[in-house]
């Protein structure tokens, strides 16, 4: 069934990475993916993309003297699914997660490759691609600064929320409830722990097993063990987190 096949292109500046991915796809996904070509050069790749119009692009972030994003800017990416590939790179990983853009870490593991391919088939991942790439680029351009926006998955697609407008997050089983500026709330299908890992480096602090708060939104700390945030809500600070919380707050003030 050729209609169901995903036509894919691989762009990577290292031949052994191309070989590895090709071998993985041949071994594990030969029924779903047809490889149209593989390029180590961004220029050649851009021509090939324009002429062959693939459904999926495996794109390495680091391409000799330029980045995968430079290539992305040269092509019409709206009708194209992209899976970024990268070796260990903390900042890039953070950026992917903020922007909800799919990525694979090298060396690519077969199970992760298969789960990424499943997402490509899902409709939702094709929506709002431009906006998500924008967030991705913003984050990559200022890797240590405060992230501007975060892409939160919703029923309809994605909500792009400025991080500074998040007042707090509350655990609801395997879901996380976001409390936003203006009284808005968002339920997201991801654990609080995931968002803690993402946001703790950007002014957020887990004060309680059920609460992650934006420290810049704290208006008052009560010695009996709770904080008031600037939307008027109060949140418990668990006994074991109090010292660390106070240390973080005083560090911020300096």
């Amino acid at each position: 069934m050729p209609d169901r096949m995903i036509n894919a292109l691989i762009v990577d500046d290292e031949q052994h990475c191309i070989d590895h991915l090709t071998e993985l796809l041949r071994t594990h996904a030969s029924a779903e993916v047809r490889i149209l070509g593989a390029f180590v050069d961004a220029g050649e790749a851009s021509h090939a993309i324009a002429s062959s119009k693939p459904d999926l692009l495996f794109l390495d972030i680091q391409l000799k003297d330029r980045t995968g994003f430079d290539l992305l800017n040269q092509i019409d990416s709206t009708q194209l699914s992209v899976i970024f590939t990268t070796a260990y790179n903390q900042y890039a990983v953070q950026a992917f997660r903020f922007s909800a853009v799919d990525y694979l870490l090298k060396p690519i593991a077969s199970d992760e490759l298969l789960s990424s391919l499943q997402k490509v088939s899902a409709d939702v991942n094709k929506r709002q691609l431009t906006a998500r790439y924008e967030i991705l680029l913003q984050h990559l351009n200022q890797p240590t600064g405060t992230p501007l926006k975060i892409a939160l998955p919703s029923m309809e697609g994605w909500d792009f929320i400025p991080v500074s407008e998040i007042i707090r997050c509350q655990a609801q089983g395997n879901y996380t409830l976001f409390f936003l500026q203006g009284g808005r709330q968002l339920m997201v299908s991801q654990t609080l722990k995931g968002y803690e890992n993402l946001l703790e480096g950007h002014g957020f602090f887990r004060v309680h097993h059920a609460h992650l708060i934006n420290l810049s939104r704290v208006t008052k700390y009560h010695k009996s063990g709770w904080v008031t945030l600037d939307d008027g809500s109060t949140v418990d600070v668990s006994t074991r987190r109090r010292d660390a919380f106070i240390t973080r707050m005083t560090m911020r003030r300096r």
Partner: protein, 592 residues
Amino acid sequence: MRKTAALICLALACSAASGQTPVDSLRRELAAYATRDTVRIRLLLEIADALVWNDPGEALDHAQEAHHLAEALHWEKGIAHALRQEGIIHYEQSDPLRAMDVFQRALRAAEPLHNKAFNASIYNNIANIYSDLTQYDKASEHYNNLLAIARELSDTTNQVIAMVNLASVFIEQQDMPQGIAYLTKALPMAKAIANQRFEMAIRNNLGRALAKQGKDEDALHHFEASLLLAEQLGSTSVKATVLNSISELLINQGDYPAAERHSKEARALAETVGALEWQANAWQTLSTLYERQGKADSALDAYRSFIALRDSAANEEKKAEITRKEMQFALEKQEALAAAKIGRQRMLMYAIAGLALAVTGALVLGWKLYKRRRDENERQKIAKFEMLVADTEMKALRAQLNPHFIFNSLNAIGNCIAKQDLPAAAEYLDKFSKLLRMILEHSTHQEIALSTDLEVLDLYLQVEANRLKGKFTYEIDVDTDIDPENTLVPPLILQPLVENSIWHGLAPKDGTGNIWIRVRRSGDLLHYTVEDNGVGRTKANGRAATSKSLGIALTEARVAIIGKRPGSASISFDDLPQGLAATVKMPLSLQF
């Protein structure tokens, strides 16, 4: 002054020996004794004392030599005694001002000796000066003080001196009965200590007092005894006055020839001494005598001589009076100055003491505050430093852990490739890179959630179980009272022990073995255990108690560092009937 003033009573000074040894024998002794020591000082002072009345000049020389010698020897007692003797000589030389000065120096020199009796003796000598200045109250006070101390010490000599001087004060104040009473009491005591000079003075004074009372017979008796003693002691001045007194009494009794004889002798002695008043007195007595005898011309001549001498004496007396006034003024000034000086010194002393106390207090307080703050800072610094050291060591150990594990894994992948088992190598590589990412991510944390640590351990066990196909199975068992999400453990603390179980416990074992990872809670401690049913420590050479793998050594070092923090951590090995159990015990740490 004593030579010219109308002397009634002889005052006695307190001195070293009170002149009981003949001067000549003392002189011989001194000439024979050349050593410059305290014995010579004593000798010099004795001679000076003996010579006071007869040769004050020589006496002063001896006293001053004694003083210098005592200074040279730093002998405080000698200095004080020499000064007292000098004072007595000045007094007898009618220089009370200098005497007073020297007596006061003697008192200062005597301060460190704390000898009440000696001080009292100097006050007695000072009192003699007060008495001459008619300040009888002050004089009596000092005399009584000396008397009391002398009685306390059963010191007859000073008792006699005090009583004789007290008697003089009474007699000067015309209280004859009191004066006579003291003298009568003092006389047998002076005899008892065989002090002729004292007896001479007492008898002279008694004679004067009795004569004033008209008791001529008794008076004459004492005068004659005094005269005899004065002759024996060679005291010209006393002899002159006593002779005149006797003459007056003889006239009253009508014994004119004897009276004339005594009177002429008195006049001759007074002339040799050069005492105008005594000469005048003698002339007056002679004039009275000649008148009684009807020798009008002689009486007139004698009377003329008396008048002439009396006027001169009066001048002398006036001069003496002026001197007395001057001296009194000088003394009062001296006393006032001394009092002011003492007051100033006391004020200064109080001020200095107060200031010193305040400064000391401030210093002590300041030092204590400073010390407290410094100690507190020091403690904080030490605590921070220890924490830093522990952290640094921990980081170093975590950094060491990774390469150790990495090379074991690379070796395993290498083995797969060597065996041409490429799918296994690929799978190993997949899991190994995933594991490596997790380790890299978590090893920067001091503590991670138990759930995460178990996830890593599970991945590791999967990898190893895959590598050693059919060699072992594993189970992970967490007690129900432990929440793996909320419990914190040092990342990969158990991994080297698991590795040890696989490589040295199960790999050498025939057939399939098993590994149990158990997490238990015991009070405030978390027990993190790996147990295997492998070959145990004794059979496998790599598991011998003495030779430990690098991984276990690192784990032990990490556990030791955890143990430095509050609570205790330990690592223990239990040899089972089959296999080995290794347990890391550490304080239970919760995230929330």
